[in-house]
Subunit: 476 residues, 4 copies
């Protein structure tokens, strides 16, 4: 129920999760559990494509993994190789058509494809490809790679490396042929992607390592920026499609997206958040009675803050865990009378207390305002808000969908003004340095410690095309 | 994912939640949100009966509140008074028939009835009532009260008080007539039940206060042991049906059942659990690197333990929050390979660490064993289990369904033996005194501080009939 | 899509179907197919209670047989005896509670019960039974028998015969004990009920014989008015509960309710309808080009009319067979533009033709008007309406729910006036004599040939209580 | 429950239905009712694409029209133009991906496309298009046209005419752009397609005229073989893409596919079938007591046969109308005991009778055998089978999926042998001449009277490619 949660309730978001298995007899079933572990990265749709060595099989649908697949569906997904996808939002057109993996049929055999990320030159590439005769059946960027591939010569690995040179932006691609899997990561490594081992000879790949733990796989290493991997029954081949690679892992993966039990580039997410909480306590101390984290994404930072500040950590806000899609919204009358469906403050914990409220981020400020109100109604004497990420001032073009400048409160308000808007007694954000230090990234990785912090400071790693920028006039 | 969670996956359990509203124009809608807040007390079925002053309306079904009721259903539940129920399990016969509230029709008008608890003389009463001509349509104890009422004379309040004298056991009853609501609590106050105020003249009643917070109601007081309340448009009348009342609130409400944001008899549940964690740290200290709580019910105690022991509290186990009814179970092969659907240990947190694992209770020991294994597989160097409730050695006859002696590991094993069974490096339970002290109940309330601790020490507050005991031969 | 079809769309109706199997290893499965064959008698709910000789098992739900029962449900309904029920309407209160069979629990063993028909002294009996301590949980008449039974002494067969003496009205009851089945029919035999044989020793009972054909059972005979049958593993015992019995089979069974492939008291329903069509052609001839039957219930009579009148029978109206519950209703605009969801006239068949339109009955006249309009819009030159039942002038108190006098157009209009209301060129109804002759019943059975024709001539076989009549002031 | 019905239960079939509306404010809603009227042409999936003049909107899903679309879905399909599709089978790969209309996105605007029919050079075209860079996302033939279109120059109408020249086979295409609709029919007119008028300026197009009657549209004319139509807000333009056109309407449309209330090329289907029944009575008379039609597709012919032969037409077989997808199949035991789920013979009608059984066709003979058995079990003395279409001896390559030679009983058996296989007392098929005469087509239209009778005599109108034929070796 963080600011980002609320934000995503209202807006389309391209954040997704991918998962693949190569050479394991329970490929579809493993993918099912893997995608289930990645469910937090996308709840709007899910799909699996498997290969039995000769044919590719597909099943996909809208909704949660557990609702999309029945036992029968999994049984029908025969084969020992598999790729799967969970999708954040199918809003914005296309519905089921945009749910991945896509399955392309051709005389040279079928191709399964799925993608996490966002391209910044999608429009340019579509214009070019259509002028060459391509037809697009989805509104998704991800379809572009298949059309580029079709136009290359040579073996698949060469064709893939050629094709990726056309593409600018953030991407983690999984491709499946009858007996090969291909994995590709953009040259800035903007999206997480890890490799693991399962059973005797099986290889797994996932957006987050939490998917490995769930299926009993062993983590090997992260895929590297600009790396292209080919897996077949003979083994693994790794190449680079780009020479100049520059690690820029999305900071929001540490701040909000990834599950606390995942390791992103070897760094545990819960630990990273807890450390940020500690640093936040150093950067922005306050005298208070209790520390409360916004469930669930503010909890790790709150524990860190509490330990560092030596103030008791309390469960002052509780989330109802039975919330789901079919829920009836409260009538206007009841909303005015204060009916809360999802989150409530615990009166007997916060009453007459000076509360430090820890959240992971502020996007538009509306949720923060609601939280502060809720705590005050429950009797909190003071509410001091501390945010475990810096001010979000710039849109993201790489798949996190707070893409319009106007909606970012920190783009147009000072911290003091935001504090007033949300009604807090005080407000502080962690600094960009504090964040990278908290995450624990080495300065050797570059001035941003190998993290993309563009949404905080406007320092975008990729070239930005005019049509992308013009949708956000205020960017530079 | 505590021991109790797992336990309840396999066995029927009578624990339930009730909610009522009197004199509020959004009665059905408020009951919907109230029941939703009480959803943790029963996920198998839900129902609402409303009164529009002339007629009673009913809707019920199997499943979660949000799936049982559509907007249309709520719209059809006209009226300003309402009672509702969430049911733990409809397994064990009856299906939809046993979902409450029941609605009894008669020439003297309809009667809605719902119940949380378990009677110990149900069989005796059924034999008696059937000999008098009663027919039972459900396998539920709760139907008995309606038949007893039918056989009394005088006004409803008198008849209710008379009827309750027949009944032995744990109960919180809500009854609804066209323009009156009746509330009754057993003379030991074994189940929680609280009164609140909403809007100008509305009265609410709920199993837990968390339901008040959600709908913006104000807590007034708890219903007292042996109290019978009549509410009509003139006001509230309170009487006692029994003279000797002896407060014995079920300890398991504090330990496991109630939501952390509820206050049970004025004591916040999270605080109670955290205090128990502190006391557990005093009673059973251990040298360790991190404290990990079993999500969700071990978390509060773990925070308390960590603070008291001055060991960092870490999120070393994570629960997948997208689990639901339709989930596919892993195949035998994958289960052997260690696929975990619901809960996983966080390798990078626990690896090479000495872990204190805090859980709320141990019933049969199988889940605890699984948790310990999981932590060891994830690399934990030592696993010390600390349990925030005493050893459960005796069955419960008041609605908590660990009712067969043989299944209680602590009834037949010493603590050392249990430690061995679950594979921990050490194991300790909080003492009964520690528990009551942690909850914060005054010794003035009696030797058990007004709590029922029968499942720990066999000291049952009510008389136990032979047929109840013989189902559990080992009970004295 | 007859008048009755439309009528039943708007009003509650008590017409139902019952089915039972005794001593067959596939009891639940046979009941499933039997109920499916009786589905036309009730689409709102269905249920089955089985006995395995020791316990009774139950499953029921709202909707069609095929939606209420899954393979798993059928598998769980263990046993060799079974009774089942399909219900016309759950509107009017009670919902799932009123779906039968009911299952009553008691110390002397469980009792399953289901019922087709309607009692005329239900209110009187409920007042009496409640004064004796009974509580009713449904709004159904059918529950009364269980309460009466509870108050009798002696063995079950004696108690049942005693209880039935209290009951006035139309009924076909099936009762199931652990190892016995009881069957009872009212003394006027107002509802159809037939006995059959299946496998080596199995007995079946059903509202209509079409259910026997479907399961490969052999018809033995119809249950007789006033007969009470007890079936156990030793054999069948038949007795009478009443001495003066007077066969009065509901005419509407022949006219509309029963399936054309059923035999009701040895008379095939299609043949009876076709004969009525022939007699109608004799009683009310007309010069015309084609004969069109209203699908489906007017078709048999139309074939008879066409053969007798020597006018070609044509399919001039077609029903869409994919209609179902979830269908979207046309918007007002489209309705005005003539969008028809269910039924349409075939322009190329009826254009410029003089059409005889045959329907089974007219209740309120609104559907007939719509049909005539439809044919005219499709170009019919003349439309002559012929109805294969007499004018319905009196309400039915025995289970056919056109129970208010005011809604019966023939109660307040002459045939000429009805003709004008429905816009036909001419209109004629078959006479009461024509109907009984067409059905083929012998005058030896009494002045109405052993049929109940009360809705045509007001000659009710049973006593009518004041409270029943007063709901329909105009009845004598 | 004809032979074809049964056949289609087991095999994939490409028969489909299309519907379009241009310039009507309730475009989506009209398409919904239109598709519902065409539901008999495809029950496996349905979809609608609408245009609001600027954007195209899409919704599709698997199952019946009434289950695929909710009121909300229809409301979201904004616009005044619309095309829709019902699909026979999604078996054989692709699932939801193959449900039409397809929606192709491009810089030059979106394109909606749907198709009824089957191409015979699909493989050749796919090889060619892929070599040019096309990627196919479905296994459907229908996608080919979009890729061909993309490669043409000039305006859309010109491009469409160019593209169609590449395509060989049976097709009725509807294409939708923002403000234009295009309609195309193959040069043999193998599939039916009719134009109509609705409201003030609206144009409708449908596979069958029954869809016009349902929505109150007025029939204008049928689309002609080789015709390409462009509709925009200015009006209708008609052109030909091919110079040599040769009317060859699929005979099976008259025999089985089309609804009896549709007119195909101005000939009413019920009348055509009834006439065939008459001619069959002349060609193959037999002495008998009753004529029985196999419901539903044998009924019209049976009425004709009965009238001509002057033998009474009786309802000797009845179909259960509540059959649906979720039905439980009878266990092996019950199947052996003769449980019939769908169809049953009416004992009291057929017992001791000499029966003429009229069916529309025989494909493999298994259903016919079952019907004859059923009639005999019900007591029929003799069973004479008369089939209202000639022997099916050759596979169809134009969309009717009895495409393997081996499964066609008439391809390998003489009539006498078939008679023996199905166990009839006698068997006769209508002659090819009888069929065309019965349908009422003029010999001026060519030697087959403008009908395709290839499945009866092997006289295929189009060129057949080797790869198509080799799948059916026996085809000359």
């Amino acid at each position: 129920m963080s600011e980002l949660d609320l934000f995503f309730e209202n807006k389309m978001n391209e954040e997704c999760g991918v998962f693949g298995v190569f050479n394991h007899e329970n490929a579809a079933e493993l993918t099912y559990y893997g995608l289930h572990a990645l469910q937090h990265r996308g709840q709007e749709g899910a799909g699996i494509v498997t290969s039995d060595g000769k044919m590719l099989h597909q099943h996909k649908g809208e909704g949660l993994v557990r609702n999309v697949f029945t036992q029968q569906d999994i049984d029908r997904l025969k084969g020992i190789h598999s790729i799967g996808h969970v999708r954040y939002s199918t809003a914005g057109g296309g519905g089921i058509m945009n749910v991945q993996p896509f399955l392309f049929r051709s005389q040279s055999g079928p191709l399964g494809l799925c993608h996490n990320g966002n391209l910044v030159n999608a429009n340019q590439l579509k214009v070019y490809l259509e002028s060459e005769g391509s037809i697009f059946q989805t509104t998704s960027d991800s379809e572009i790679l298949a059309h580029l591939l079709k136009r290359q010569r040579g073996d698949m690995l060469t064709a893939l490396k050629e094709s990726l040179l056309y593409i600018e932006g953030a991407f983690a691609f999984l491709l499946l042929k009858e007996n090969e899997m291909y994995i590709a990561l953009d040259k800035f490594g903007l999206r997480p992607l890890s490799l693991g081992r399962i059973g005797d000879n099986g290889i797994v790949v996932a957006s987050e390592t939490c998917a490995f733990d769930v299926i009993g796989a062993e983590y090997i290493r992260d895929v590297k920026p600009g790396e292209v991997i080919r897996i077949d029954l003979e083994g693994i081949t790794s190449e680079r499609y780009a020479t100049t690679c520059d690690q820029s892992m999305c900071s929001m993966e540490y701040v909000y997206f990834a599950r606390p039990d995942s390791d992103v580039e070897g760094i545990n997410v819960h630990q990273a958040r807890k450390n940020c909480g500690r640093i936040l306590a150093q950067e922005a101390p306050i005298e208070a009675d209790i520390v409360v984290g916004v469930p669930d994404s503010g909890l790790s930072a709150a524990i860190g803050y509490a330990e560092e500040a030596n103030i008791p950590f309390e469960i002052g806000m509780v989330k109802n865990k039975y919330i789901g899609r079919t829920f009836i919204q409260p009538s206007q009358t009841l909303r005015e009378q204060g009916v809360k469906m999802k989150l409530s403050a615990v009166r007997s914990i916060v009453k007459d207390k000076r509360v430090v409220l820890i959240d992971d981020s502020i996007v538009r400020g509306t949720t923060s305002r609601r939280m502060v109100d809720m705590l005050r109604e429950a009797g909190a004497k003071e509410v001091h808000v501390r945010i475990a990420s810096p001010e979000i001032k710039f849109p993201c073009f790489y798949g996190v969908d707070f893409s319009t400048y106007d909606e970012l409160i920190a783009a147009t308000h000072t911290t003091e003004q935001i504090c007033e808007v949300i009604g807090a007694d005080s407000l502080a954000f962690i600094s960009v340095d504090g964040l990278t230090k908290g995450v624990g990234r080495s300065p050797k990785l570059g001035k941003n410690c190998g993290q993309c912090v563009a949404c905080f400071n406007g320092d975008y790693p990729t070239y930005l095309y005019e049509d992308v920028k013009c949708a956000n006039k205020e960017v530079k």
